[in-house]
């Protein structure tokens, strides 16, 4: 395949593996693995230690935390005992996982170049969500109120939300009663 480095199926490494480029593991590694490129674990691969990479595809087994700066994908033969963290996590049916999962990993967004900006927007959205929610509602309710109440549209803009929400109900009821009569 197009992997810069390959650890063959008969290979056993007791120690750490790190560096640049992509790595395909078909054998066994007892130690931490950290690469800047993509990381793939074949069906018979075993890693006892933490692994990290850009896009990590796991068809083998991992005992340790998995951190993907782009994505973590666990194939149907994959098995992970440890925490998973990546902006995107994919799991096939049959995959086994015991551990925590976080999809808000180190870098978010589609490319590392835009990651800091995307992270900022996300954080801002989350922060402002509780505050922002009530704000759009009154105008949404104020519009029907304005059409129902007619002349009171200018007054409906200013007062706090609760009276505005009640206003259309009262108006609607009143109109219904009027129509019934």
């Amino acid at each position: 395949m197009a992997y810069a480095s390959v650890i063959s199926s008969s290979a056993v490494i007791r120690g750490n593996v790190r560096g640049d480029g992509s790595l395909q593991i078909l054998g066994r590694i007892e130690g931490d693995v950290g690469v800047t490129g993509d990381l793939a674990l074949g069906p018979d691969a075993v890693v006892v230690g933490a692994i990290s990479g850009a896009r990590i595809v796991i068809a083998g087994s991992v005992e340790g935390d998995v951190t993907g700066s782009e994505a973590v994908v666990i194939s149907e033969t994959g098995k992970v005992v440890g925490d998973l963290s990546a902006p995107r996590i994919g799991m096939s049916e049959g995959a086994l996982v015991r551990g925590g999962m976080r999809t808000d990993g180190v870098a978010s967004g589609n490319s590392a170049r835009r990651a800091p900006a995307a992270r900022g927007v996300e954080a801002e959205e989350e922060r402002s969500r509780p505050v922002a929610r009530p704000a759009p509602r009154p105008p949404a309710n104020a519009a029907p109120a304005a059409s129902a109440a007619g002349s009171s549209s200018a007054a409906a803009k200013r007062p706090p939300p609760p009276p505005v929400i009640q206003a259309p109900r009262a108006g609607a009821r009143a109109r219904k009663r009027l129509h019934k009569r």
């Binding site: 008969s10 056993v12 120690g15 593996v17």
Partner: protein, 104 residues
Amino acid sequence: MAGSVVGAGLIVEGEFTSDEEVVVDGTLRGTLTSADVVTISGDGVVEADLRAPSVVVAGQLTGNVNASSRVDIQAGGRLIGDVKAGRLTIADGASFRGNVDMDV
């Protein structure tokens, strides 16, 4: 099956064992044991004791080598350490410092 490749930029630290061929383009520190050919290519750096039937050194190797069959130090290759091997070739342009034991 193709063997292992420690690609450029990759650093392996520890004990590496394999039944298949091993090619080192990156860096390997510790010990390396293989049941097949070990090749240290031009940009490869190995600081390890090495045991394999056959070893080809085109890059840098620092450590003792035990090869049941042969050791070839190619032009541009650099080996610092003791060599125990059935056959040893040192190409013109290669560097070598260490003792040789050829079962004489």
